[in-house]
Symmetry: C2
Subunit: 425 residues, 2 copies
């Protein structure tokens, strides 16, 4: 195959006719496939069915002398705090255990920051003239949405192969209106990048002008390798403490992609002072999150080592799917020079950069042929990708044969939209 | 026994010496008993152990074609919406199913009202000069706390045997700064009063000046009779709709005192327009609450009729405890004319009115003798009971022998504090 950039107009026209015919052929199949969201496959959910019957009798429901079934223990069961501390490398006293959605706890932190302020806030953020959030791009649409919902100005920070552009981050935090940055530090969403040690150290060393600047460290994929061994990752909380910024970071993790996406547990990890501050606040809104499910999880997952064993089961299901994506793109698209993409070894996404100016069109072509992708632009604040290039591919949910069909549609759409662009059609 | 009011000073002094000796005797026993919170007893939790194993295999985890284990279904599983609609007498489309704590959803409604406004708000409540909440007293401390946390002015409304003083409520809602009233309409906390049909109708017919005035209808004890048959209760949502106020009410309920206090499910019921408004908002903060636990609950509780059967089991455990409270007070205190109390047939509390000016002292005497009560004043906004009289007794948790001992301490403390007051000690 010849790259499109080396083809004559005549050759491009021939290509266009052939690709269009192929596209029409695919469209006629009336497909209904979805690669929009990082949903675990049914096979993965079946992998952890043992969790359903971990607690069977009343006497199973105790963590020491604490009855998980009753009120109390606002910050979670001690065994659940210890579990998360083991997974994240922090201390149990730095853990507040939550319910099914870590996003909900992140949103609570932002909501309370706006209504009441964080630990070191001179005033609630809603009383500030303006509040700015730094947003690595491409990034996670739900992070952006929360910032947008509370009226923060979202500032894009380009991602590099080692994490967000830290020169820019260090520059921006000199502005006292910059109050927050949201990151997914390991297997970033969607790029699948692992922040380098240097990047992480520069995060811990930040010297923000705002006394209440906060890093939302959404460690959603901390143990989610699907290829190769577990990659150790440092504890950001102690690093911030050592750098003299003990209260600057809020880390989040969950079992949404370890056990059940619709019935897991999550945690917030932060300095003891922050945990105390938020325990006082959470104490107003609830008695505790679901402790029965916390106990069920700890009994099933046991500890980090055993959880990593379970993750190998997930990896065995995930890896062939990412291989399908990679194989299709390498075979169909690479020789044409019309797109590039990341090749992650963990997480849930492939970040695809289509020919600039064509992402929306690729999304539309896929949609019309029955394949749903995450909306073009969704990986940028305000859904505005300045290059109209990035698409997030989520291959976890569909079975391999469906995924192959979906990738055929995607590759065809990438070609068609590139040819349309090159031929001004 | 003679009422204290009919005794001479000499007789009172004799009583004081005897009661003090009894108190010192009790204090010397080094008790450690708790009647502070409406916690279910371990026996009650054991009653519903069947829920632990309702879901055992992957194929158990589906509500129709919906996999409860995966992401999605923000407003809850259809079967859980139908379950709550059955219990509350509303429509499934008027139900948003939540996690373990209905208080958390109430707090979310208030938080979003302040940050963004409700459906008919001209502006977010944080932009209003002042926001006022009406608080029936005595009432639930956690309701007051949320209002206080968001800076609302809390206005006490006296309770009557048929519910809050509706003349006052109707008068107050003419003030456009009055935005909210919080009520527990059946077996009110702490009085155990069931609002009369007339009171409920007057709620539905309210003509508030604020277009976004909201009733928080915390139906926490909707099926929680412990004596006598289930008392039917009208659907406030359709009543508000019929009165031309479809969006004025937010109803809440939970299984905290049906299954597990530390691992139940809850719901918010409201007009379809309100459910849509909050579905859009909740969609920003989460993917869904724990749907696996929703399914586990629906499979176990089945429907309202079956849930009422389960409630009879709770009643059999609760009734003897309320009888202990009632017996002690009738025997030890009634003849002395120093206190009065409610005699509820459901809910979790006995509301006790000690001699005015002595509630704090009774609490302290109990505390020093090893019996913890809900803080005196807690049942009033800002923890200020103008009469220093009301105490909330929560007899559900301690086993009967402990409860008898605790009631002995309480009765002795009621006498001692009354005698101190009468004798100016």
């Amino acid at each position: 195959m010849t790259p499109y950039s080396c083809m004559t107009t005549q050759e491009l026209e021939e290509q266009y006719a052939a690709v269009l015919a192929h596209y029409e052929h695919l469209k006629a199949q009336g497909l209904n496939l979805n690669m929009a969201r990082g949903k675990p496959a049914e096979e993965q959910l079946n992998l952890v069915s043992g969790i359903l019957t971990m607690l069977q009798k009343p006497e199973d429901c105790f963590d020491g002398s604490i009855d998980a079934r009753n009120y109390g223990q606002l910050a979670g069961l001690p065994c659940a705090q210890a579990y998360w501390a083991d997974v994240l490398g922090c201390k149990p006293s730095q853990v507040f255990v939550g319910g099914a959605a870590s996003l909900n706890m992140m949103c609570d932190v932002v909501a309370r920051a706006f209504s009441h302020g964080l630990l070191h806030s001179p005033r609630p953020w809603c009383k500030e003239e303006k509040v700015k959030f730094l947003c690595p791009v491409p990034g996670y649409d739900r992070h952006f949405q929360i910032g947008e919902f509370y009226g923060a100005e979202l500032i894009p920070i380009p991602m590099t192969p080692t994490g967000p552009d830290m020169d820019m981050v260090e520059q921006y935090v000199k502005d006292p209106q910059v109050k927050m940055i949201w990151v997914v530090p390991k297997y970033s969403n969607p790029d699948g990048i692992i922040f380098s040690q240097e990047t992480i150290q520069r995060f811990a060393n930040l010297k923000p002008a705002a006394p209440d600047f906060a890093i939302i460290w959404d460690n959603a994929y901390s143990i989610h390798e699907f290829e190769g061994d577990y990659v150790p990752f440092p504890d950001i909380i102690s690093m911030c403490e050592e750098a003299g910024n003990p209260d600057m970071v809020f880390e989040f993790a969950s079992t949404s992609k370890i056990t059940f996406a619709g019935g897991g547990i999550c945690c917030m990890a932060a300095s003891e002072a922050n945990i105390q501050y938020f325990t006082d606040i959470f104490g107003i809104q609830m008695i505790s999150y679901d402790k029965v499910n916390q106990l069920r999880h700890v009994r099933f997952l046991k500890d980090k080592a055993h959880t990593l064993e379970i993750m190998k089961g997930h990896a065995a299901i995930m890896a062939p799917k990412f291989k399908v994506v990679s194989d299709y793109l390498n075979r169909e698209i690479a020789p044409l020079g019309i797109a590039h993409w990341n090749d992650p070894k963990g997480g849930y996404f492939v970040s695809l950069f289509a020919m600039p100016g064509t992402a929306k069109r690729v999304w539309q072509l896929c949609k019309e042929a029955g394949v749903t992708l995450t909306g073009a632009g969704a990986t940028y604040p305000y859904r505005k990708d300045p290059d109209d290039s990035n698409l997030r591919i989520a291959p976890s949910m569909p079975p391999v044969p469906e995924l192959e069909k979906a990738m055929e549609v995607l590759c065809c759409s990438l070609k068609l939209s590139a040819l349309e662009k090159l031929l001004n059609k």
